[in-house]
């Protein structure tokens, strides 16, 4: 990930790869006007293909792909097999060329398809890429982006260590479960190699510490491949508020970049309106102190810490001078030999109070690790909040219909689209107004004109805003054109990912009301397992309509829908 390797926005893809032209019958055509949208049914994970008309021929389409991934623990054949099948179909549908690939954020359920264990090879060998779009947060030449990135790397390493320790303590803990789930969203672990990479800072406590935390995980590998190989010299990093982006050769379409916000506070927060005190308490220094206890020192990629640096970080993280420390192991070893040495700490009855079997229930070896849950949630929020949020407008500038693809943007990201966010007496982010034709376009305009909403974060509770979100879209009598595309598999979400409320029932209800029951879900046809399931009818909301009744195509592999520009 050398920063030099990714210059900003170069055009001209080198056409060295002979794209495989196969099965023309499976080509996805573009509509005469407007856009055709495919949601590939990966399950719990995003994969979209958009076809815009380009030039004269209907075959000559502009293909824009958004994300390609599936949740880490999805069972086969719904996992790798499925992704390969889908990417194969994309190759055929596009004739082996994608004009733009937009990758929203670094989570496995959005990028697994680009990993070497999934469909990377198909992309590499059989699909030519025009341009790669990523959020500015992936541009590691920008210092804030680099900080966020390094912060995520360190957080993952620390959480992995915390998790290992929790498992080592053998306690059944909801925290351990939660941390494990969060790490799954980075494509599971490379536990073996990560542990082996530990530099063994024994004094930091616990075996296998990872000072420096340089090991990547699978999501990062996928992102690195995209940025440094597949999208090399043709990556465009998008910034919120920049002038609407045109698609080469396509008329009457423009893309508004809404997020991620250029403010670290907004990115780190799942809810910027909440209490001010706690997130501050979790500020960098506190984080660093916790991470140090996990043997992780957040570092810059260009600066490999020396032993002296590590030693200094270590001594700064411990609360007292080293002479006060009595290593845990020395006390715990209540071996006869140790007891014979009357002056040794292991023989001290004071310490043995702590280790006595009848007092085992009062030990606190793992309590400090409970804070890891907070860091894990923060990591998850911060990653979702780096989502590239895009709005596509088809039709006349400032008056067209809008397709909203927010990635998995959570509250901090979403709120920033509407301008500065007030937090206490501070204002975060910036005001954004786009010039489109003679119109001044705001986020509110775009949401009001939205006719297709890709539901954020698979329908979780904190990735679709209410007042500054869904309530601007569609109409409460369901008579508008709005449709919702919801890439979710409820059974996987609830049973394997243990997301209790994904999708959130009250959100589905509101979506059903505002779309008049036109919600397209990847798990359409699945049976509800209980009354809590959102697959079951919801009282007070119109029934979900079968997708066949309003889509162009509804197959086992994908859903297809056309948005025509306004008359």
């Amino acid at each position: 990930m050398s920063p030099k390797a990714a210059p900003r926005s170069t055009r001209k893809p080198p056409a060295k790869k002979a794209s495989a032209k196969k099965a023309p019958s499976r080509r996805m055509t573009a509509p005469a006007k407007g856009v055709k949208v495919r949601m590939y049914r990966t399950g719990l994970g995003d994969c979209f293909l958009l076809a815009f008309p380009k030039g004269r021929s209907r075959k000559d389409a502009f293909y824009l792909m958004i994300d390609c991934g599936v949740y880490f623990r999805t069972p086969e054949p719904g996992n790798v097999t499925r992704i390969r099948q889908i990417v194969g179909d994309i190759r055929d549908a596009t004739g082996g060329r994608i004009d733009v690939l937009a990758v929203t954020h670094e989570h496995w359920d959005h990028v697994s398809g680009f990993h070497s264990t999934q469909a990377q090879e198909i992309f590499e060998k059989e699909i030519e890429l025009g341009e790669l779009w990523m959020a500015w947060t992936e541009d590691l030449r920008i210092s804030l982006a680099r900080d966020l990135h390094e912060g995520r790397v360190a957080a993952r390493a620390a959480l992995r260590q915390a998790l290992t320790r929790m498992q080592g303590l053998g306690a059944q803990s909801t925290t351990a479960e939660l941390v494990g789930k969060m790490l799954d969203f980075f494509g599971g672990s490379l536990e073996g190699s990560e542990a082996a990479a530990g530099l063994g800072m024994g004094a930091a406590g616990g075996g296998g510490s990872v000072f420096g935390a340089k090991k990547s995980v699978q999501t990062e590998e996928a992102m690195t491949w995209l940025r440094d190989a597949y999208g090399k010299d043709r990556t465009r990093f998008l910034e919120p508020g920049e002038s609407p982006v045109a698609l080469a050769g396509v008329s009457g379409v423009r893309v508004y970049v809404l997020g991620p916000p250029e403010d670290p506070v907004l990115i780190k927060r799942s809810d910027p309106t909440g209490d001010e005190v706690f997130p501050k308490a979790m500020a960098a220094a506190v984080e660093a102190s916790f991470f140090a206890a996990c043997g992780v020192m957040p570092g810059r990629p260009e600066a490999t810490p020396s032993d002296d640096d590590l030693q200094e970080a270590l001594s700064m993280s411990i609360p007292f001078d080293i002479v006060y420390q009595i290593p845990f192991a020395d006390v715990q070893k209540a071996t006869p030999a140790a007891v014979e040495e009357p002056s040794g700490p292991a023989a001290d009855p004071h310490f043995q109070r702590y280790f006595a079997a009848e007092n085992a229930w009062r030990r606190i070896d793992g309590d400090w690790l409970e804070a890891a849950a907070e860091f894990a949630l923060q990591l998850d929020n911060a990653t979702n909040n780096t989502s590239l949020a895009l709005a596509f407008e088809v039709g006349p500038p400032g008056e067209g219909k809008v397709l909203l693809f927010p990635g998995d943007a959570q509250v901090g990201n979403w709120r920033s689209w509407f301008g500065k966010v007030k937090l206490g007496q501070r204002e975060l982010g910036k005001d954004m107004v786009w010039k489109a034709g003679s119109h001044d376009v705001t986020a509110e305009d775009l949401l009001r004109r939205t006719v297709l909403y890709k539901v954020g974060h698979h329908g979780s509770h904190n990735a679709t805003l209410r007042q500054q979100g869904l309530e601007l879209m569609g109409r409460s009598d369901g008579t508008s054109e709005l449709v919702a595309f919801l890439p979710v598999d409820e059974h996987v979400a609830r049973e394997l990912a243990h997301y209790g409320e994904m999708p959130l029932r009250s959100l589905i209800k509101e979506l059903a009301i505002r779309t008049g029951g036109r919600i397209v879900r990847n798990d359409e046809g699945a049976q509800p397992k209980d009354a809590e399931s959102t697959l079951a009818p919801i009282e007070g909301a119109p029934p979900i309509r079968p997708s066949k009744s309003f889509l162009d195509a509804s197959t086992e592999l994908y859903f297809e829908y056309t948005v025509a520009p306004p008359d």
Binding site: F320, P327, R362, I364, L377
Partner: protein, 682 residues
């Protein structure tokens, strides 16, 4: 509470003076008798927290000496109440325990305050926790006990056995985060340390370590959580929005009023504010350093005002009755109760010093500009200490007048009024009126009282004459029995004797009371009903039934004694008996109705009709220890459908927190450590 109060202490009727008094005085001949143990152990501590040392103005009052009751101490310190064990799991080490019996330490009031020496940290948590315990014991006139340990079935979470817990564990360096808590599961206080994030670099070193165990307020707050849990275990169950808020508020009240027992700091602040304690001062703030270190502009909490985030200036708080109904976060809601009690304190203090001010100003009562005369400062400080002591004792004593479950702020107000009435029947200084007024200004009203006059708020005497003789028999049956060493039981068991025996004796008294009720209180009687209980076979089906006789279960939750001064300087003992039943509650009315229709032994209660929450009810009885009269009966009826409906609304109305989305299986997860200084998940 260790300061120059010996004169005042003599006035206190309830005290827990150690049992050293009975030693034989020196015989004329024979060996020289050993010197008696001293009454106190003097230990140096930070007055509030280390932050005062950084400013010249406050550096003089940065430390003080606490006098805690003398007890035999092991290294740790480990005594009769507390065991300080200094393990630091994040740093993977232990710290050597302090030996407070070391002559070098005895001779100089313990170690000098130091952030860099873990042994001083151990000394300070011990000293502050002990003085908090001492305040409780003085107010209640009996030994403080910790909540027993419950072993639960891993699957059903039902309690399978319980055992008394002798010592509260204190871990001064348990966490690496900006937090501290009392863990009800481990009966332990866990304190964290963290690098500070200062918003105001004048106050200290940015990135410097902050130790929560060196904050008087944090230690007193968490110790109070543990003491309250020992007394009212069900106050940890959030059955209405006030319950956890009450826990927080009460812990803050104790920490706050203990400030006024620190004489140097008090005099300093009175001189600085010229006697006006309603202006910004250190005494009304809680956890100053902690608040600064996590980046807020003032202390963590402030009972009298706060820094306006827009202007950056401190502003006094204006009571707002609109806040109480809409504030739900326990610390914030609790702050309303704290502010009310502090407000009452200020009014009483003002009325108590009015004459002093007049004397000092030749009758005008208007102080001239400039410094106050040191004598006046001393006298004002005295009044402040006295007032704070009274309010603190009143607040603690009221705990014996609370219902056993489901406490609300309004009920606590009634408990305060009643408890105070029992001690000071003639309210000439207007304490009760000040308290009622302060609550009223914040919109806190008890349910079901006709007026806010003190006599209307006082718990009503139980009106059934049949009870008078009835409970006399309960007392008699207790005093007929013997303990395991064949000693006659008395009503003094909680104030004398070895502390570790009290837990065992409590079990015996509870058992006697349970047996007596089972035998003598007819299950379907009016008497049982008037105690808020449902004991007969025709009780609602959702009330838990006994496996043995199929009748509703009854828990004698607690039997304890409350000491009450009476005319002529002597004291009387009341017996406090708490009776609790539990009932299945459901988040929808339909399911509740369905469950009520089932027979009481229906298997569906274990299958498709498992309860969504536990609804508890019962009563607290205050019984005159001499006559057996039922003085008060504080009701929380298990039959109350209205209260059940309120709890249902509360249980179903809580928003899924962020964390609940990711781990929905266990709703307890979000409140696993319900008494954290800051809640980890919001």
């Amino acid at each position: 509470m260790a300061q120059d109060q010996s004169k005042q202490r003599k006035e206190e009727t309830a005290s827990s003076t150690p049992q050293e008094a009975a030693r034989p005085s020196g015989a004329p001949h024979g060996p020289v008798p050993a010197s008696p143990d001293p009454p106190y152990r003097r230990l140096r501590v930070y007055t509030f927290d280390p932050s005062l040392a950084t400013q010249l103005e406050t550096s003089l009052i940065n430390q003080m000496v606490l006098r805690v009751p003398w007890e035999k101490l092991d290294r740790g310190p480990v005594g009769d109440y507390l065991a300080v064990i200094d393990t630091d799991p994040p740093s993977n080490c232990f710290y050597a325990p302090v030996d407070l019996n070391d002559p070098a330490l005895l001779a100089q009031d313990g170690l000098a305050p130091s952030e860099g020496n873990p042994k001083f940290h151990q000394q300070m948590v011990y000293a502050v926790a002990m003085s908090t315990i001492q305040n409780f014991e003085q107010a209640l006139g009996r030994r403080a006990l910790w909540a027993p340990r419950f072993e639960r079935d891993a699957k059903t979470r039902e309690v399978t056995s319980s055992a008394p817990v002798h010592r509260l564990r204190i871990y001064p360096h348990a966490l690496r985060e900006a937090n501290a808590y009392y863990s009800p599961d481990k009966k332990a206080l866990l304190f964290g340390y963290f690098p500070s994030v200062l918003s105001n670099p004048v106050e200290g070193l940015p990135g410097g370590l902050v130790f929560t165990c060196l904050s008087h307020d944090v230690v007193a707050h968490e110790t109070t959580h543990a003491l309250l849990d020992g007394l009212h275990r069900y106050f940890a169950e959030p059955s209405n929005p006030d319950v956890l808020a009450f826990h927080e508020a009460f812990a803050d009240v104790v920490a706050l009023f203990q400030h006024f027992m620190q004489p140097e700091a008090l005099r300093h602040q009175i001189a600085k504010t010229r006697g006006d304690l309603a202006s910004q001062n250190l005494l009304g703030e809680l956890a100053h350093q902690f608040g600064q270190a996590i980046g807020s502009r003032g202390a963590l909490r402030d009972a009298i005002g706060r820094v306006n985030p827009v202007t950056g200036k401190w502003e006094p708080q204006v009571p707002d009755p609109e806040l109480y109904p809409i504030t739900t976060e326990p610390h914030d809601r609790g702050a309303i109760l704290v502010a009310a009690l502090f407000d009452a304190f200020l009014s009483i203090y003002r009325s108590r010093i009015a004459d002093l001010l007049r004397i000092a100003t030749g009758g005008t009562g208007v102080l001239p500009a400039g410094n106050l005369h040191p004598d006046l400062v001393n006298r004002l400080a005295n009044e402040a200490t006295k007032t704070a002591g009274h309010i603190l004792h009143m607040a603690i004593r009221a705990l014996d007048y609370c219902p056993p479950v489901d406490i609300t702020f309004g009920e606590y107000l009634r408990a305060l009024v009643t408890a105070d009435w029992d001690v000071v029947p003639d309210d000439s200084l207007g304490y009760r009126i000040a308290v009622i007024e302060a609550f009223r200004r914040r919109g806190i009203y008890p349910r079901g009282v006709r007026t806010l006059a003190a006599d209307a708020l006082r718990w009503q005497r139980h009106e059934r004459p049949s009870f008078y003789g009835l409970l006399r028999e309960l007392l008699d049956s207790m005093l007929r029995e013997e303990d395991w060493e064949r000693r006659r039981l008395t009503l003094e068991w909680q104030a004398t004797g070895r502390r570790e025996d009290i837990g065992k004796l409590n079990e015996q008294y509870r058992f006697i009371a349970w047996n007596w009720i089972k035998r003598n209180l007819p299950a379907d009687s009016e008497e049982a009903r008037s105690l808020g209980l449902a004991l007969g076979a025709n009780a609602p089906s959702t009330i838990f039934r006994s496996r043995f006789d199929g009748l509703p279960t009854l828990e004698v939750h607690s039997v304890r004694t409350a000491r009450r001064p009476v005319e002529g300087g002597s004291t009387k003992l009341d017996l406090v008996v708490e009776l609790v039943q539990r009932r299945r509650g459901y988040v929808t009315h339909e399911r509740q109705a369905e469950a009520e229709k089932e027979p009481a032994d229906s298997q569906r209660f274990w299958k498709d009709l498992q309860a969504d929450f536990k609804f508890r009810g019962g009563c607290t009885l205050l019984i005159d220890g001499e006559t057996g009269d039922l003085r008060y009966c504080v009701l929380k009826s298990i039959r109350s459908e209205a209260r059940l409906a309120r709890q249902r609304a509360f249980a179903s109305g809580r928003d899924p927190s962020l964390r609940a989305t990711y781990s929905p299986a266990d709703p307890r997860a979000a409140v696993r450590e319900p008494f954290a200084l800051l809640h980890r998940s919001r």
